[in-house]
């Protein structure tokens, strides 16, 4: 495409050649072996147990919001693991490489990673954690919980929902492939400019980052559209605006951010794409290019993005804290108002990410003040949770422990954020480990919410609870590990250590580096207990009740556990913001419908999966500049979308009698009822 590419290019394979395979790098070869053994084992197991048809019918072609949610969460957890290993490698490099003259291992000048490889690791870490761990996890819980809390059968657009997921999945796979074919970007997750331009970064690394980011952003934008439409249009009768759960409210705020912010980064990346593929000059150092334009566009998305991830976490806390305090949420209207003010203010503070770039005192002053204002609604939320707990009957289950930890971390992260928001302070700590510690505290708030939610809603989805003992050990080890890893970073940052260093220049800081390393090792221990928790509970599989925790308050605790694929046999009529608690208080919580009606459900479709595969190949072809493959896949995507429009796609109807049979079966089932797996195939036969 671009005439002056560095290195070889052939019409057939583009820039791809054997030299792109990093077989001389022992770390990557080892990773490749592990990943391929795991992948082969999974594929082998699918064939060995004859599950290919099952996988295709029940998962790959599903449009069921719960299953898509589960797939999002699995994707998020796997990517979390990979991002974690990136983190381990960075910490270990800094521990080994103290001072420029320290010993080097495995051919590195100091430490064990050459700078070029180290740079790719921190870029991949940030990219993966934000787009392929946090975002899918948040989207996954949204998918599972929101239609249930609305009393809906599915999302407003089930097909689009599957498309969003498979786009995200394809983008994540591009990141994985970059490990073994070519390289990843070395220009940080924010894409420093003009470092990400062709002149400084002629390889395929930035292209991998750019297309993975771009494709996943598209998926996220679609998901936001779907979530907003679902919340606005799919509410059960009686579910007025002020009976929406706090989680639905915060998701609404979040997805308004998603809808409005993601297009901005789409533009930023597209302009970069024009620079890299067609030789335009948006962000180049010459020809009138302006790289501050990129930085502004990026952070106009970037700061709303942090709240895009944070607000769902707030919503999750607002569900979990009342349940385990056995008390209604304190200050519900202020909670809603706070979500929307955070979302709104989040739009007008972006330049606090580059106070030091010379905007001058007026702009810095404005952005400092605007940033500080976010603390007010955030504080409102924290106090509301505390007042919810105050005089409540608190049970210290693992979800509650996570929620309380999240609130403490929010305090630490928020206060350090306040320090950073004073531009004069920021001049001394910008781009230091202090900033890294600040946002990791914040991201750990999200992590806490996600772990809490995993344990809290697990029975609703799978029909059995997770083992509480291992969950609590996991909790304590993880929290101690986090403190050990991140508290020293505040101090290192104040001592002047900037971020993204491949060696630490001052040997006196070594003890602090050791502390973080001990924390990293403890993370491994916590990982062991996390896996143990899953294994123990999977083996035990004790059926859980519809209201699995006994004190559930919102609508989803009224339907069966696990939720059948049609969610509610008959759509519930809503009387209260906390419908489950409302019915329990009136002795109605076990009341079941007496008559059923036909249910209309969307049919499964393979189109989203096909679009995902095509967009993966499309991205790969663009990265390696295989022109003919780009053209073919573009055409194939257009044709697929058009053909889909000619598919009548009327869904299918489950007759009332069938529902009655399902309901009877669920009522008598003693083990985890598997009605969900019967779903499409069984329903189509009737």
């Amino acid at each position: 495409m671009q005439p002056d590419l560095q290195g070889p290019w052939s019409p057939l394979l583009g820039r791809l050649s054997l030299a792109a395979i990093p077989y001389d790098n022992p770390i990557l070869v080892g990773t490749f072996l592990v990943v391929s053994v795991v992948a082969l084992a999974l594929v082998g197991a699918v064939f060995y147990f004859g599950k290919l048809g099952y996988l295709w019918r029940n998962w790959l072609t599903t449009v069921d919001h719960k299953k898509i949610g589960v797939m999002y969460i699995i994707l998020g957890l796997v990517m979390l693991l990979r991002g974690f290993f990136d983190g381990v490698m960075m910490r270990t490099q800094q521990l080994l490489a103290d001072g420029p003259d320290s010993a080097g291992y495995m051919g590195a000048a100091h430490g064990y990673l050459p700078p070029h490889h180290f740079d790719q690791i921190y870029t991949a870490h940030g990219t993966l954690m934000l787009f392929f761990a946090a975002t899918p996890l948040v989207a996954g819980f949204g998918n599972i919980i929101i239609p249930l809390q609305l009393g809906a059968r599915d999302m407003a657009f089930p097909y689009l929902n599957a498309v969003s997921f498979w786009l995200t999945f394809a983008a994540a796979m591009l990141c994985m492939v970059s490990l073994f074919v070519g390289e990843f970007s070395n220009a940080t997750w924010v894409g420093l400019m003009p470092l990400s331009e062709m002149s400084s970064n002629p390889g395929v690394g930035v292209d991998y980052w750019m297309w993975a980011f771009q494709i996943s952003s598209l998926g996220t934008t679609f998901n936001s559209i779907n979530m907003i439409a679902t919340i606005v249009k799919m509410r059960a009768p009686g579910l007025t605006w002020f009976r929406l759960t706090p989680y639905c409210w915060s998701s609404l705020a979040t997805n308004i951010i998603g809808l409005t912010a993601f297009p901005v980064v789409t533009v930023a990346l597209t302009l970069l794409g024009f620079d890299r593929y067609f030789g335009t000059h948006f962000f180049t150092a010459g020809y009138g290019g302006n790289f501050m334009l990129y930085i502004n566009l990026f952070w106009i998305w970037g700061h709303p993005e942090v709240y895009f991830l944070m607000l769902p976490a707030f919503g999750l806390f607002s569900e979990i804290v009342p349940t385990f305090s056995n008390k209604t949420l304190f200050g519900y209207p202020t909670m809603v108002a706070a979500s929307f003010s955070i979302a709104g203010i989040g739009w007008v503070v972006w330049a606090h990410h580059f106070f030091t770039m010379g905007m001058g005192p007026n702009l810095n002053g404005y952005f400092s003040a605007a940033t500080m204002i976010v603390g007010i609604p955030t504080g409102v939320k924290a106090f509301n949770w505390l007042f919810t707990m105050y005089r409540g009957k608190i049970t210290f289950t693992s979800p509650m422990l996570w929620a309380m930890t999240g609130i403490v971390l929010l305090l630490i992260g928020g206060l350090t954020g306040m320090m950073l928001s004073a531009s004069v302070v920021d001049y001394t700590v910008h781009d230091s480990l202090f900033v890294v510690a600040h946002f990791h505290c914040m991201v750990l708030v999200i992590g806490s919410a996600l772990f809490a939610a995993t344990i809290y809603w697990w029975p609703k989805v799978f029909g059995f609870k997770l083992d509480e003992k291992n969950a609590q050990i996991f909790f304590w080890v993880f929290v101690i590990a986090s403190l050990l890893v991140f508290v020293p970073m505040f101090e290192l940052g104040l001592a002047g250590v900037t971020r993204r260093l491949d060696y630490i220049y001052n040997a006196a800081l070594k003890p602090l580096l050791w502390v973080t390393e001990v924390g990293i090792i403890l993370y491994f221990v916590s990982l062991y207990y996390f896996v143990k928790m899953l294994v123990v509970s999977l083996l035990r599989r004790e059926p859980a009740a519809a209201d699995s925790w006994g004190t559930g308050r919102s609508l989803e605790w009224l339907t069966h556990t696990p939720v059948p694929f049609y969610n509610f046999a008959v759509t519930p009529e809503i009387h209260s913001r906390e419908e489950a608690a409302w019915r329990r208080d009136r002795g109605l919580d076990t009341a079941r419908p007496t008559e059923y009606v036909d249910i209309h459900m969307p049919s499964n479709t393979g189109v989203p999966f096909v679009l995902g595969v095509l967009s993966f190949v499309w991205g790969f072809a663009l990265i390696w500049r295989i022109d003919w493959l780009v053209e073919i896949t573009t055409l194939a995507m257009v044709v697929t979308v058009i053909l889909r429009a000619f598919d009548k796609n009327e869904g299918y109807v489950i007759p009332a009698a069938q529902i009655a049979r399902y309901e009877a079966k669920i009522a008598t089932a003693s083990v985890v009822a598997d009605v969900a797996d019967e779903a499409p195939a069984g329903a189509l036969e009737v």
Binding site: G151, R153, A156, F157, L160, T221, S224, I225, I228, A229, K233, M234, A236, P237, L259, T260, A261, F262, P263, V264, T266, V267, T270, L271, F274, D275, F278, G279, T280, H281, F282, G286, Y287, G288, G289, N290, L293, L297, I300, V570, T571, P572, E573, H575, R583, R586, G587, L588, P593, T594, E595, Y596, V597, I599, H600, V638, I642, A645, F646, K648
Partner: protein, 210 residues
């Protein structure tokens, strides 16, 4: 159908079997409107980028809108585009009367005018590039090209969409899916025209030669 359970005070309706019958077209149109909002943000960002690069330094010695673009030629393009919108909008009146022929005519005229608009735009960009003022000449020109190109691409997709609908109204008739798509197509075309008006105002009228 009522499912009533007695409590101490009154009969409470707990389940509502009629609730399943929602209005898919309204959800669909609303969802599409949301998509248009995100598209609006795309153009807002591009126009903001254009505003940032709209200066002598970013033009890097190359000409800018005042020598490259003519407001009167842009006006012709504007008329063509508004004609396309008008044709489509009048055509969709056929949805009320069930007039398939009128709708088909509207779709065809709007697709034809849309094609003319895209062709005019491409010809303009071609001429600029041929005169040495292509998108790689300066940051300003990069942005001018990408802004106009992105808008043209949207319209080209609209043309393709109209053609698909032309087939569908004869193949399927006015089914719920087809009507939903037609309403969205109309929204889409009107929205792209509104974006063009902003582009025309900002790029051609404020910056261009008169």
């Amino acid at each position: 159908m009522a499912h009533e359970t007695m409590t101490a005070d009154a009969a409470v309706r707990l389940w509502n079997a009629e609730a399943d019958e929602h209005d898919p077209i309204s959800a669909r149109t609303y969802g599409f409107w949301l998509y248009l909002m995100s598209d609006g943000l795309i153009f807002a960002s591009l126009i903001a980028a254009y505003a940032v690069l709209d200066n002598k330094m970013s033009a890097f010695g190359h000409p800018m809108a005042d020598t490259l673009l003519s407001a009167s030629q842009g006006f012709v393009q504007t008329l063509v585009l508004l004609g396309a919108v008008l044709a489509l909008s009048l055509g969709t009146l056929g949805l009320k009367t069930g007039a398939r022929g009128g709708l088909a005519l509207g779709l065809a005229v709007s697709a034809a005018l849309g094609t003319v608009f895209v062709a005019q735009g491409l010809a303009g960009l071609d001429a600029m590039a041929a005169a040495g003022n292509g998108p790689t000449a300066s940051a300003y020109l990069s942005c001018l090209f990408v802004l106009l190109f992105t808008h043209g691409l949207h319209l080209a997709i609209g043309v393709l969409w109209s053609l698909v609908m032309l087939v569908q109204i004869f193949r399927f008739g006015f089914t719920q899916d087809v009507v939903g798509r037609l309403l969205n197509l109309r929204l889409y075309t009107q929205f792209q025209a509104a974006v063009w008006v902003v582009v025309y105002l900002y790029v051609y009228l404020f910056g261009g030669a008169h």
